[in-house]
């Protein structure tokens, strides 16, 4: 059965700051949804709410009809939804291989056998092109490799829906092209769903089947990448009123 993740009317307040003001979105296994918006529009907060890092102030998140909002993140991972970190958070004293093994041992696959888990880790490292660095301490990896490691870890949890928080940010043009191709290939192979939060427009527009745009905690547009980039509300949010008028 295809897994479906639905977030409805999500509100999140941090004291007086209203980070999210009723955002709804849905995503099914196999689908890539881009989530874009200007800085501070609430993209990462939304991922944090879905992954259980933050509790929503109001609204619900359901996975195949089951409420998951407010549940601890380790349980949400167990149900097959896993998130990468905007700033990679590798376990510094462990090798890349061990980092990924942790995910295989504790994710939704729950491998209890160490050998099975490390075989799984090797397989996933090969998938993301990090197999040559399996024995390297995570603290010695380059930025690009750390991002790959983040991706490898969420895949190794066995998650069916990946929440990717700016995995394409901070890469050079060449690295970016490589990363986009890599991710497209992996997604095709594993048939996972992905909610991709991104500043890098090229990555979102190339990869996504559907794009959701939020601004100041509200959804302002949703549609195919082509529709969204022509939407006056989106142009206004990104470039200001003048540009929107000129485009129209």
């Amino acid at each position: 059965m295809t897994m479906a993740l639905v977030a409805e009317g999500i509100h999140k307040d941090f004291g007086g700051v209203r980070a999210l003001r009723g955002v709804s979105l849905s995503l099914t296994e196999g689908e890539i949804v881009g989530l874009i918006g200007p800085n501070g529009s609430g993209k990462s907060t939304l991922l944090n709410v879905i992954s259980g890092v933050e509790k929503p102030t109001a609204g619900t998140v359901t996975l195949d009809g089951r409420r998951i909002d407010g549940k601890p993140s380790h349980r949400i991972v167990g149900w097959g939804v896993a998130k990468t970190h905007q700033i990679p958070k590798p376990f510094p004293g462990m090798t890349s291989g061990e980092n990924v093994t942790v995910a295989a041992l504790f994710g939704s696959l729950r491998r209890t056998d160490l050998r099975q888990a490390s075989e799984e880790a090797t397989r996933v490292l090969r998938l993301v092109g990090l197999e040559a660095k399996a024995g390297t301490l995570a603290s010695n990896l380059t930025v690009q490799d750390r991002k790959r490691l983040e991706l490898a870890r969420v895949i190794a949890t066995g998650a069916r829906i990946l929440l990717l928080d700016e995995v394409f940010a901070g890469l050079s043009a060449g690295e970016l092209r490589e990363a986009i191709e890599l991710f497209a290939r992996i997604q095709k192979e594993l048939r996972v769903g992905a909610l991709v939060v991104e500043h890098v427009m090229r990555a979102v527009l190339t990869l996504s089947h559907r794009v959701v745009v939020i601004e100041e905690g509200r959804k302002i547009a949703e549609g195919t990448p082509q529709e969204v980039v022509r939407d006056p509300a989106v142009i206004e949010a990104y470039l200001g009123t003048e540009a929107a008028r000129a485009a129209a």
Partner: protein, 326 residues
């Protein structure tokens, strides 16, 4: 009931896997067995030295469970020792239980206390956890002093015999179990989880680790063993005295041993115990007080120069030892 699997009779494969525990575990096992076999033939004075060395080592392994494996500095760890000793003293003194069997009560008190405290204090991170644990230890002394049933300022004085061999074997068993548990914890799935928590707790959570439960598990183990050692320690002086039972010095020594030996390692606490115990005992008789200067200097030196401790640094800088030392 998966976890009860180990109750089935051992198979040949099990016995073979026991042989594969690696050189470090073998080395410790042999040392422990030699000590156990030789103890009856050792004169009283060296035997008491050996007993206190094992007490130190057992405390170091206890601290290693929480501070070594998760990075949470349990500054008030002596509270488990102290209340374990009081638990033991109470059942021995008022219920007249055997001092040896009552060591289990000491452990139980430590375990329950760690569970109760851990649920609250393990929510704090870094220095806040250290402060919370320190405050707990300071509060515990005052609560005990104000409790007439526990003897108030006088403590619990027992009239037990001088039985160094019983003390020795009691602490030996605790130490052996601790080493076994440390091996089991660090070599399995839990070990990966703990290393992940030590590395980055938030990342550990988002990869499916129930960090609260795992931290509570090792903290409880830590409390269990510290409580049991506290009981044996009280037995060696035939009584429980508030100022001595809750002396913060013990917390500091436990931390020093873990840091010096190599935190989170299998051999580190033992090495740390030996290295810290020697100046501690030597200067106590020669120039009392000087031991603190020596131990303090040693800890500062290690923390600054080789923060991974003796065992961790040997592993890092001596390539041959990498596959041998753990």
């Amino acid at each position: 009931m998966n976890f009860l699997r180990f109750l089935r009779p051992p198979t040949i494969a099990d016995l073979r896997s026991i042989l594969k525990i690696g050189p470090t575990a073998w080395g410790i096992a042999i040392c422990l067995l030699v000590a156990a076999a030789g103890a009856p033939f050792v004169a009283t004075y060296p035997l008491t030295i050996l007993i206190y060395l094992l007490v130190f080592a057992a405390l170091a392994y206890s601290m290693n469970f929480i501070t070594g494996l998760t990075g949470y500095v349990s500054f008030g760890h002596v509270v488990f020792m102290g209340l374990g000793a009081y638990g033991w003293g109470t059942v021995v003194g008022t219920l007249h239980w055997s001092p040896l069997g009552s060591v289990v009560i000491g452990g139980a008190v430590g375990l329950l206390l760690a569970l109760g405290l851990g649920i609250v204090t393990l929510r704090f991170r870094g220095v806040y956890f250290a402060i919370a644990s320190l405050v707990t230890a300071l509060a515990a002394v005052n609560i005990v002093l104000a409790t007439p049933a526990l003897g108030g300022g006088q403590g619990i004085i027992l009239n037990l015999g001088f039985e160094p061999l019983s003390w020795f074997y009691a602490v030996w068993v605790i130490l052996a179990i601790e080493v076994g548990m440390t091996y089991w914890v660090t070599h399995g799935r839990i070990g990966y989880g703990l290393r992940a928590i030590k590395g980055d707790e938030d990342a550990a959570k988002t990869l499916g680790i129930d960090v609260t439960r795992l931290k509570l598990f090792v903290f409880s183990l830590s409390g269990l063993f510290a409580g049991a050692v506290g009981a044996v320690n009280a037995w060696t002086v035939s009584g429980v005295f508030p100022e001595a039972a809750f002396a913060l010095l013990f917390s500091l020594l436990m931390l020093a041993m873990v840091i010096v030996g190599g935190s989170g390692t299998l051999l580190g606490p033992l090495v740390g115990a030996v290295v810290v115990y020697i100046p501690h005992t030597y200067f106590l008789t020669v120039a009392s007080g000087a031991e603190f200067i020596v131990i303090g200097g040693l800890v500062t030196f290690i923390a600054l120069v080789i923060p991974e401790g003796i065992v961790g640094s040997l592993r890092r800088y001596v390539p041959i030892l990498q596959g041998i030392l753990e």
